[in-house]
């Protein structure tokens, strides 16, 4: 059987994988970064099961090429997402680790029906 926890985790994975491949390659600079962060957040939050999303792009990794700009790379992305399926939440993260853009489950938790309406 597939539990709510399973589905919340699955959805967190989907959203992080999708985000990565949708946005990598976009021309980016320190000046445009805040708008791109906001556009990514607004695109992700539209999708089903997403409760929260924060995107931070590492300005220090925006090394300019010979034409004065960078491209968004996976290692620039610091993303935290919270998905929810009924009363179960999953918090997951995309963050560089040892030169790899690692996606990890941070925690999952269920709230009781009551606690939610208190």
């Amino acid at each position: 059987m597939v539990s709510d926890r399973d589905r919340a985790i699955f959805e967190a994975g989907i959203k992080l994988g999708a985000l990565y491949h949708q946005w990598v390659g976009t021309p980016i600079s320190r000046k445009s970064a805040v708008t791109v962060e906001s556009a990514i957040e607004q695109a992700v939050i539209l999708q089903p099961f997403v409760e929260e999303i924060t995107v931070h792009l590492d300005r220090d990794k925006m090394v300019e090429n010979s034409f004065g700009y960078s491209e968004l790379s996976g290692l620039m992305l610091d993303v935290e997402i919270v998905t929810r399926v009924r009363f179960t939440y999953c918090r997951a993260r995309l963050l560089p680790k040892d030169g790899y853009p690692l996606m990890q489950i941070v925690e999952c938790y269920a709230i009781t029906k009551n606690s939610r309406h208190r």
Copy 2:
């Protein structure tokens, strides 16, 4: 705590989400479909935790535009993936349902250490 099952599910989600946004938009035709299917499979199988991947593109949805080709859309994709974390497997699917490219967990199962080495 994050279990092997959790991680296998998370990885299946990542791969399906990534695949979707990497490949949607590619010019496609009935003739090129088999090569694109193979390229997607070969790209996905490279990634960690992927045991199996099969990609089928729905030729019937490849309606030609006025220039004689289509673009790969999410609704063309029929994908089945198996991920594994240690002894736990997750089988997931991307398949159109009611006009939406739905991703779903099909089943998860663990094998015993022994059965694996028999």
Copy 3:
């Protein structure tokens, strides 16, 4: 020989083709459209030879799927770009025509060195 006009035209084509395949597939809604338009403009203007870029997304084409959002499609895009190589400009457009996202050169023109510094 390759003229400035040739190069301005070539760069306009590059930018429109790139923009199209970078952004198609992004989850979008009427509410997030203005941020995504701005993110696209800010990404394109970073690139060499781009003088002006305006992006308008057709809200009427944002038909919600069963989960309440759309994906950015090529037919939503109305883009006008001006590229420049030295004293020669190229204005080009991406606009739906007969159900196809058509890219076209609008006009090219050169300014004299003098007129530029007056």
Copy 4:
């Protein structure tokens, strides 16, 4: 006025820009490279005005990450494309130069109606 030469150049730009942003980020290895090259070629050749396309991926740049694979980067791409509008051809190239994936017009030429049917 927009000449056939202008349009052939514009189309070459569109195709190179599109290709770049469609495929960058795809997981890749030396083993899968030949299939991905073929998939890119078959996708591009479908599009209007494309006469020839050859894609070569630089295996030497496929440095494996900690999980044993690479991602297709712009600097791996060596692409030559020929577009045609009526009797005018444009040959263009995407090739790394000084660490930047440079797109350039190689040559344009017109053939006479007669020479074509000889």
